[in-house]
């Protein structure tokens, strides 16, 4: 059987399709992390200011910080989930772009 498929071409096509889907995902994830860490840092600074004035108890401060941590974690989980969905979409696009080429070369439907 004659080989019609070029690995180089397949990889180029798939990479291009994949990157087209995921290129915005990575910087967005980094931005999410920075924003959430900033929020936690602000919460700690706020607790320190209130504690200095005697306006917050230890128990209240701990609960406030724990809720801030939960919120940050939830946002980062969303960023992770969105990254995974983006990667899945990228892989789907990569597969889609070579479907016709691969199936035609094989003479039967693989993808």
């Amino acid at each position: 059987m004659k080989q019609n498929l070029s690995v180089k071409t397949l990889v180029q096509d798939m990479t291009s399709a994949f990157l087209g889907e995921v290129k915005e995902g990575v910087p967005a994830a980094k931005k999410h992390v920075q924003i959430e860490l900033q929020k936690i840092a602000s919460c700690i600074a706020n607790i320190e200011a209130l504690a200095a004035k005697g306006k917050i108890t230890k128990q209240q401060a701990k609960l406030d910080l724990q809720i801030a941590e939960d919120a940050a974690q939830s946002t980062l989980i969303a960023a992770t989930g969105i990254s995974e969905i983006t990667v899945a979409k990228g892989l789907k696009a990569a597969m889609g772009v070579v479907t016709g080429l691969v199936n035609t070369a094989l003479g039967w439907r693989l993808i």
Binding site: Q3, V7, L63, Q73, T75, I77, A78, G81
Partner: protein, 143 residues
């Protein structure tokens, strides 16, 4: 070159098949989950608005809001059940559990008392941020 291609092709095809399996494992968007979460957002907003109106008075005390907290607890449990029924939905399930945990902490915080509108607003923002992040992930899911 042809021989090299011949050797590489099965590996490439296997990779593609595995990739296809990964791609199919993304959870699907759930309209009902979206609606239930929006309802919880409304319940939480109402709770904070009520506390804010009565802040500084006995009517702002925790014991007057036990029913509201219980209703939100029930709604969150239903939401978790809904999330659990969707395949490959571990991130959303984790987020809902975090929100449940935060609402428990908010109740403890309420029992200790809120001193001013600023700290109440700060906690409201944190809880809303969690609801928004759950919604953001849900809306990103394929339909």
């Amino acid at each position: 070159m042809q021989q090299h291609l011949f050797k590489s092709l099965p590996i490439l095809l296997l990779t593609m098949l595995l990739s296809a399996c990964v791609a199919m494992n993304a959870p699907q968007y759930d309209t009902q989950f979206d609606k239930e979460l929006t309802q919880i957002q409304r319940q939480v907003d109402t709770l904070f608005a009520e506390i804010k109106v009565h802040l500084g008075k006995p009517a702002a005390n925790y014991q007057h809001y036990i029913l509201e907290y219980r209703q939100i607890d029930v709604s969150l449990q239903l939401l978790l059940t809904r999330a659990d029924a969707t395949a490959h939905n571990q991130h959303t399930i984790h987020q809902v559990k975090l929100l449940q945990s935060s609402m428990d902490k908010l109740q403890q915080r309420h029992k200790l008392g809120f001193k001013n509108a600023k700290e109440l607003a700060s906690l409201h923002t944190l809880i809303n941020s969690q609801i928004q992040s759950i919604l953001t992930l849900e809306l990103a899911k394929p339909r």
